[in-house]
Amino acid sequence: MSTATAANIESTVSGFTTDLRALREEIGTMIVGQEDIVEGVLMCLLGGGHALLEGVPGLGKTMLVRTLAETIHANFSRIQFTPDLMPADIVGTNVIVEDQGGKRFEFSRGPIFANIVLADEINRATPKTQSALLEAMSEGSVTVAKQTYKLEKPFFVLATQNPLEMEGTYPLPEAQLDRFFFKLVVEYPNKENLHTILDRTTADHVPQPRAVIGKERIMEMRELVRKVPLARQIQDYAVRVVLATHPENPEATAKSKQFMRYGASPRGLQAVILAAKIRALLEGRYAVSIDDIRHVAPPALRHRMILNFEGEAEGVQADAIIEEILKATKEA
């Protein structure tokens, strides 16, 4: 958008809203329920971040990513992380190719070279392998044998963790978790949704998703997101919420002081703001509201808050602390 006018903006925003809703609806044809997860994943995509999904197997995480890739007409790859997975298995490696000129090394791209990457059970791979993925997530490129290969945009990684099988896994360190835009917890579908799932997937006609928008549109939408203005008071609210996650901060709540070891980083605040902007646009608004902040704060902050021993021993959930903070933090 080079020459913006008021009318353009309104149509731009309207177009954004329409495309995003269409995208959501299209994904919804394949994924039953999980509206929050879908919305969250889309926010991550449009926010330029990556998503971490946590849920038991069989909840449609792979289906979700695949559907997402198909709806935006993007490349999709799935990486099943196992303990013996090597970094080269992710990023690719140089192979010897023999041709007329003789033998030469040729970089064979790994599965990471896709627009949408599903890193399934990321916590099963070794930290070395994890770091190879995480480095690509943060840099947007891969370096192999001193050769850097840019990853095509949009580049979106959706990593999953199985909360049931934590034994023998390599939980992602906090520093690595902080790189994920959202952490979304996939709940088990309710009864009605299960019926719908069955109806859709066990019949003879299995629906197929169609492309709604292209990759370029995603990039445009990303740009628009960053244009969404934010009132100072609302931004201040977001800042106070994030500060309240730190136990040493005067604005910290009682639970925060009691159970927190470290609070959310500024990256988490960025995620909150970006996600809030996306949500505002999703609802056809031109500016962020405090409700948007409240809505996106849990998925954006839950994986960035480190509990102390007491919190872990008590089984305190970060979401409970975030909820208390959102209630306690005054709007102005």
Binding site: A6, I9, V13, K227, V228, P229, A231, A287, A332
Partner: protein
């Protein structure tokens, strides 16, 4: 680039909402302030009711309470209320997702940007802001101002209502106000003699009084006695308050000694009339109250202290008679010490009369007065007389000192003193020749040595006596230890105690002798004579040297000194004389002193009225006194004897003829416990063994017989001439018997009382207060 959109719609919404919010705040503030205001009103009402606050102050506080409410509303409503904050309230209440507040915020931002404060945003963002503002403006129609600023009951409403209700109740209550007026309640004591200090108790006695800076002396109002320094007030005396004694119709001012908020100390005037009256207390011209008060006679025994001594009227009269006699003798014999003693006893009696002294104090004071009288008395004044007599005998041998010597021999110390003074005068006037001086010198020297020798002899004798007694005591102790049986031992012990007492008395007498005024005066007299003799001694003249004026002057000087010595000797002689007279008088009045002591000992305490008077003793005494004055007594009161009754408990009692009592009974194991109530005895009864015999007496002109005279006096009074003569005869005998017979003091007392009461010239008896 789009221009900022007009947000007046939103501003109007904000304005409306703000007004509602401020109104609500004002209500909240006013309600909260009402709690404080009600408390303040409550306090001021209470303060005015209890007079802790002046009415004006109370009203001011009430007005302040009202203003407090207004102030609370104003302060609450005046709080800062940002547009964006109000807009956010509207957004929340209207579910507008912060559209209005964001529009206001963006409007300000864009306005600042338009004012040239830098472009912080790119075009798209700018447009989005504009779009957001427009969106806000569009959504203004959905704003619910009422929901954004609802009116609700203030949270302090209940408290405010409660306080208001309480204030109303308190305002309606009749709280008893503190009584700050001055009141008087009672006088302590409520009766006192004139001159006594009285305390009037009260409250708030300073109320309504002007307060001078310092205590002022009491005003000398008309009728108030002029006061000396001894009666000056010791405390605060207000200038505008006074106390009067009397009645409402007629009263006199009394002296105020001290005035405090709770009591007033006053002094009853010395000439205040006796009887029931009132003490009226005034502050300025307002009478604040009065208390009952009785001015009593200090001699009225009803008001004496409980432990005050009480003397019967006839006891008092008897003691007064003794004292009068003592004073007469003191003046006659020139013994001022006895006169002082009598005065001391009179003072004691005066105190006793006023009830100011208890029996113990009376006896104690009497003992002290007696000790003072007997202080330094010589145990053996006859030794002194003998010593002076021996000196006089020697002095009489010399012509010059013959008169002096004879006076000393006769124990006429007054004359001896005069003779000594004459000698001294002669020396001063140089009327004595050298020879006479020498003779005088020799005689004085001789006498002084003789007196010294006698002193030594007496001392030796004393020591010998003491030694003898000590030896005797030692011997008796040995005998006691060697006693063969208890009887002997007891006998030895008794004799030993006697000797020890004798030794103690001897030593005590010696000690008293050494301290006696007479002995010391005699010693000084002796020394004076010796010095006079030394000064009269002519110095040895050198035959080769002629006498000159210097020697003569020296001799004259010595003569003067000798003269002074003689005057000193005369003075000492006077002292001996005075002391001897005192002791002689004391000895003479020894019996009276005993009576006085007995009378004091018999005095009762006020509360102790003594045993009942079963024999109507007081009645009989009164009858007796009446007849003694020549009046008629009551018939039947005074009879020679009455029939008595005696009962023995299986005992045997035989009445004697002439009848002291009759009792009869069988002999028994125990003694009788009954007694004859009639201690005065029965009249003599005739017995059958009497033989009547008529005796003829000789008629004479000497009047009736003694017996007849006495009987007649008993019936008719003591005014007769014959009785006086009889009385005089009996009195001499009584004195003789009292002196020689070993009668107990109490017996002597009664006998003397009896004779005092039948004295022919008996003064009118004291009035019995019971009459």
């Amino acid at each position: 680039m789009a221009q900022p959109t007009d947000t007046s719609v939103i501003q109007r919404l904000i304005g409306r909402t703000r007004r509602r919010i401020r109104a609500q705040w004002a209500l909240e503030g006013a309600t909260t302030a009402t709690v404080l205001a009600a408390a303040l009103a409550l306090a001021s009402i209470f303060g005015v009711r209890t007079e802790a606050l002046a009415p004006g102050t109370g009203i001011a506080l009430l007005i302040a309470s009202g203003l407090l409410i207004v102030l609370g509303a104003v302060i609450a409503a005046a709080r800062k209320l940002d547009d964006e904050r109000v807009a956010r309230k509207i957004d929340r209440a209207s579910n507008l997702s912060d559209r209005l507040s964001t529009a206001i915020a963006f409007s300000r931002t864009l306005t600042r940007k338009g004012a040239g404060k830098g472009d912080e945003h790119d075009a798209e963002t700018h447009e989005m802001m504009v779009a957001a503002i427009k969106d806000g403006v569009r959504s203004a129609s959905r704003a619910d101002v009422r929901a954004a600023a609802p009116f609700s009951w203030p949270r302090d409403l209940r408290a405010a209502l409660g306080f208001l209700l309480l204030s109303a109740i308190v305002a309606g209550l009749s709280i008893p106000t503190l009584d700050r007026g001055a009141h008087v309640y009672r006088a302590i004591p409520d009766h006192a003699p004139p001159g006594a200090q009285i305390t009037i108790e009260g409250t708030n006695l300073m109320h309504g009084m002007a307060r001078p800076l310092a205590s002022l002396p009491v005003r000398n109002t008309m009728g108030t006695p002029q006061l000396g320094a001894a009666n000056a007030p010791t405390g605060y005396v207000p200038g505008d308050a006074s106390v009067f004694l009397g009645t409402l119709a007629k009263s006199r001012p009394v002296q105020v000694l001290d005035w405090s908020p709770t009591q007033i100390i006053v002094k009853i005037p010395n000439d205040a009339p006796l009887g029931d009256q009132q003490l009226l207390v005034f502050i300025a011209t307002d009478r604040i109250g009065m208390v009952d008060f009785t001015v009593v006679d200090p001699k009225d025994a009803r008001y004496h202290k409980e432990d005050a001594v009480a003397l019967d009227p006839d006891e008092k009269a008897y003691i007064a008679a003794i004292l009068a006699e003592l004073k007469n003798v003191a003046q006659r014999d020139k013994v001022p010490e006895l006169d002082d003693f009598a005065k001391k006893i009179e003072d004691l009696l005066a105190k006793a009369e006023k009830g100011e002294i208890s029996k113990e104090q009376l006896l104690d004071a009497l003992a002290k007065a007696e000790d003072a009288l007997n202080k330094d008395a010589d145990p053996k004044p006859e030794d002194v007389t003998k010593q002076l007599g021996d000196a006089g005998k020697e002095l009489a041998k010399e012509q010059l000192t013959k008169e002096l010597g004879e006076a000393l021999q006769k124990n006429d110390l007054e004359k001896a003193k005069q003779e000594l003074e004459k000698l001294a005068e002669k020396l001063d006037n140089k009327e004595l020749s050298d020879q006479q001086k020498q003779d005088l010198q020799k005689k004085l020297e001789q006498v002084s040595k003789e007196m010294e020798k006698q002193d030594k002899q007496q001392d030796d004798k004393q020591q010998q006596q003491e030694q003898k007694l000590k030896d005797e005591i030692r011997r008796l102790e040995q005998q006691k230890q060697q006693a063969k049986n208890d009887q002997q031992r007891q006998e030895m012990e008794r004799r030993l105690e006697d000797k020890q007492r004798e030794l103690q008395k001897l030593q005590k007498d010696e000690e008293q002798k050494q301290q006696s005024d007479q002995r010391r005066a005699v010693k000084r007299l002796e020394k004076d004579m010796e010095k006079a003799a030394e000064n009269l001694q002519k110095p040895q003249k050198d035959p080769n040297k002629q006498g000159d004026q210097k020697d003569q002057d020296q001799q004259d000087q010595k003569d003067k000194q000798a003269s002074q010595n003689l005057k000193d000797a005369a003075r000492e002689t006077g002292r001996v004389d005075k002391d001897q007279r005192k002791q002689a008088t004391q000895k003479k009045m020894g019996s009276q002193m005993d009576d006085l002591r007995e009378a004091m000992r018999r005095a009762k305490q006020k509360g102790n009225k003594g045993p009942n008077d079963p024999f109507n003793k007081s009645g009989k005494n009164q009858d007796f006194i009446s007849r003694a004055r020549g009046g008629k007594g009551q018939q039947g009161q005074w009879k020679p004897g009455q029939q008595g009754q005696g009962q023995g408990q299986q005992g045997q009692g035989q009445g004697q003829n002439g009848g002291q009592g009759q009792g009869s009974g069988q002999g028994g194991d125990t003694w009788g416990t009954g007694h004859d109530d009639n201690l005065t005895g029965n009249e003599t009864n005739k017995t059958g063994n009497d033989k009547d015999q008529e005796l003829q007496g000789q008629s004479g002109d000497k009047g009736g017989s003694t017996r007849e005279t006495i009987l007649a006096a008993a019936q008719k009074g003591f005014a007769g001439v014959g009785y006086k003569k009889v009385y005089a005869d009996y009195q001499r005998i009584v004195e003789e018997v009292m002196r020689t017979e070993k009668l107990p003091s109490s017996y002597k007392y009664y006998v003397k009382r009896y004779f005092a009461n039948i004295h022919p010239n008996m003064a009118a008896p004291p009035q019995d207060p019971k009459q």
